[in-house]
């Protein structure tokens, strides 16, 4: 964009010289996304922070009083639901990893020409709405469903036991609903892997299991990380599964926020809880990134 370049450019080009166009292009590419984020992320966050510090009631309205105490109050009042959210989302994420890794491995290395069919099957549930899928699980887990009866018959469930309205049901629902978010990044990272590396490891006296542990698993690390984040983060804020498959005994922080906003209309509490959740999630991500990112995967593998 030097002036000498502009001087040399032909007049007919106007002010949009090739050079200028090239330097403007990255800006043009980033503007839509940036605007979107400012409008629907940055501004709401600031407004949430603003609302969370207000006091008042839905009938008389809320006024800004810089009530920082609400954060401490919310944490102590709803710590049970917060911990439960962490526990449910964590358990569901681990379950997704345990179910998803073999599936992704199979699709990447063993499915052959059926690979695309399996990929389609993995994303197929997205074709129906989350609510419909979860309601379907209600039917599956209900007290006289064949699954419940079968489990009672083989003695895995006591005769008066139930599946619906338990933490098992909520965690199972979350696991089911978020499984594709785990499988797809895992699949992507495994599929990229050069299989000769495993041959090389077995050639260097590693058993198949050692080769998996030392080569496949570390190289799938970024995929595991991405899958865990993509599952854990939405799962921790989920309220549909707890609402449809659980009772108030299984309510998660998402249910609290939802009812504070839409039922009780305690906007400051709802905003404060949302904010706390966001910070908790950010801390968890940072910790995970530090664990996997800076301490190199290889060092973890070789140690």
């Amino acid at each position: 964009m030097s002036s000498s370049g502009e001087a040399a450019a032909p007049r007919s080009g106007g002010w949009l010289t090739l050079r200028r166009r090239k330097s403007l292009l990255p800006l043009a590419l980033v503007i839509p996304g940036l605007l979107w984020l400012i409008l629907f992320y940055a501004i709401p966050i600031v407004s949430q922070l603003w609302i969370s510090l207000q006091t008042g009631n839905p009938d008389d309205g809320f006024a800004q009083t810089w009530n920082w105490a609400i954060y401490g109050d919310s944490i102590s009042e709803y710590s049970e639901q917060m911990l439960r959210s962490l526990q449910y989302a964590g358990t569901a994420t681990i379950a997704c990893l345990i179910i998803g890794f073999p599936l992704a491995y199979f699709m990447a290395f063993k499915a052959g020409r059926w690979r695309n069919l399996f990929l389609l099957l993995v994303i197929l549930p997205f074709f129906t709405s989350l609510i419909v899928r979860t309601v379907a699980w209600q039917t599956i887990l209900t007290d006289d469903s064949w699954i419940t009866n079968a489990l009672k018959t083989v003695g895995l469930l006591p005769q008066d036991g139930r599946l619906l309205a338990t933490s098992f049901a909520v965690i199972a629902g979350i696991t089911y609903n978020f499984l594709p978010f785990m499988v797809l990044p895992l699949y992507a990272s495994l599929e990229r892997m050069d299989r000769t590396l495993v041959e090389a490891a077995t050639d260097l006296y590693a058993s198949r299991w050692t080769a998996f542990r030392k080569i496949t698993l570390p190289l799938a690390g970024p995929g595991i990380f991405a899958g865990v984040l993509l599952t854990f983060i939405p799962a921790i804020g989920d309220y549909i599964n707890a609402q449809l498959l659980g009772t108030s005994q299984q309510y998660m922080i998402g249910n609290v926020i939802q009812s504070q906003y839409l039922v009780v209309r305690e906007y400051p509490t709802a905003a404060a809880l949302s904010f706390i959740m966001m910070v908790v999630v950010l801390i968890i991500i940072a910790a995970a990134a530090r664990l996997i990112g800076t301490k190199k995967l290889s060092e973890a593998a070789v140690a």
């Binding site: 050069d194 000769t196 590396l197 041959e199 090389a200 490891a201 077995t202 050639d203 260097l204 006296y205 590693a206 058993s207 198949r208 050692t210 030392k214 080569i215 570390p218 190289l219 690390g221 190199k296 995967l297 290889s298 593998a301 070789v302």
Partner: protein
């Protein structure tokens, strides 16, 4: 070089209908540099992968140092492979890559360190031990792969087109280094390549493979000077091949009729070995000399064919002629350009192409191959 290191007995590999390796019998001597040479699809890589344990033979057995290993998984075999793509572990440093095999074998830490350092020294990469393979050039990666395999001191080292991904200059350099390293460490190298020059430069023994079988096995000189099939004659360098009929075979030389009635002499032993009166004889282009045809024929001991030059191409160190003989054959002749300049022969000149009968080889008459 006496003891057999790797022995293949009736080794066969089929992929569906396709026979990749066909009832192969092969003894690879200990401590030598052995090359499996052939065009792509000849079964050489499949053979190597079966020795490494990555492919299961359809039939036959593999022995390593006298013990059968056919059913052993790769990690139980005392062989190591240098892969064509190197297959270096991208999440480990060079030193960690090289130490991988020793760790699996539970070599204690102090010895591991010494041996890794030695191996890196051998391939001249000591200064790059803490680099990642992805930060290295192709030639360097190749050396890491070699060190990673050699550090385990395997019974045999398998090299699958190890220089295939490198450019010509680097390839030449590494060819010499590889054979030097092989002599230093004394481990049996089994090297798969489609590059005849590479095989000839490095290997003590070359097995030329075609269609899952070994066409001919021998030293580079043997294969070059005495090819027994037209395929070997053309795959290793250039050859002039002409059909010939055996007239008599007694004494050191057999007499044959070729090229429309010319009487040529051929070493007797390979003619007898061919076991047929209809043979093909061959001679290498650089073993022939050209002289102007001026009536008085050259030394009577020589084989000579009359013809005229149809093409002359100056290629620097030699001039490459094509001579169309009176019998209808097209012969390639390389005439070295000496200090006196070129031979002075030109297109259209009538010439006599002659060569020492000793330099004539015999191949079986079969479907003529391209080349």
């Amino acid at each position: 070089m006496s003891e057999t290191d790797v022995a293949l007995r009736g080794l066969t590999k089929r992929f569906g209908e396709m026979v990749a390796v066909d009832n192969l019998d092969l003894d690879i001597p200990q401590g030598g540099f052995f090359a499996l040479l052939g065009p792509s699809g000849c079964g050489k890589t499949t053979t190597l992968r079966m020795i490494g344990g990555f492919e299961e033979p359809t039939a036959g057995t593999i022995e390593l140092a006298g013990k059968e290993i056919t059913q052993q998984p790769p990690h139980k075999r005392d062989v190591n492979t240098v892969f064509q793509s190197y297959a270096l572990f991208p999440h480990m440093t060079v030193a960690e890559n090289v130490a991988f095999g020793l760790e699996r074998k539970k070599v204690d830490k102090a010895e591991r360190k010494t041996r890794v350092a030695e191996a890196l020294e051998l391939v001249e990469l000591s200064s790059l031990a803490s680099r990642r393979p992805t930060q290295m050039s192709g030639g360097q990666q190749q050396r890491v792969a070699l060190a990673r395999a050699l550090v385990n001191r395997p019974r045999a080292l398998l090299l699958d087109e190890p220089l295939g991904a490198l450019d010509l200059r680097l390839r030449k350099q590494l060819q010499l280094e590889l054979s030097q390293i092989q002599r230093d460490v004394g481990i049996t190298f089994i090297h798969v390549t489609h590059d005849q020059e590479e095989a000839m430069t490095m290997a003590d023994t070359i097995a030329v493979m075609r269609d899952g079988r070994i066409d001919q096995l021998g030293s580079a000189t043997e294969l070059y000077d005495h090819p027994r099939t037209a395929f070997v004659a053309n795959f290793l360098g250039n050859s002039n091949l002409i059909d010939a009929d055996v007239v008599s075979n007694s004494g050191a030389f057999a007499e044959v009729d070729a090229d429309g009635g010319a009487r040529l002499r051929v070493p007797s032993e390979p003619v007898a070995a061919a076991g047929s009166a209809q043979i093909r004889i061959g001679v290498r282009p650089e073993k022939m000399t050209l002289a102007p045809a001026n009536g008085d024929s050259a030394a009577t001991d020589s084989n000579a064919l009359l013809g005229h030059i149809v093409d002359a191409a100056y290629i620097g160190l030699a001039t490459q002629y094509v001579v169309h003989t009176d019998g209808g054959a097209d012969l390639q002749v390389f005439v070295q350009n000496s200090a006196n300049g070129t031979s002075g022969l030109e297109e259209g000149d009538r010439v006599v192409a002659s060569w020492d009968p000793e330099h004539t080889f015999v191949v079986e008459r079969e479907e003529p191959n391209a080349g």
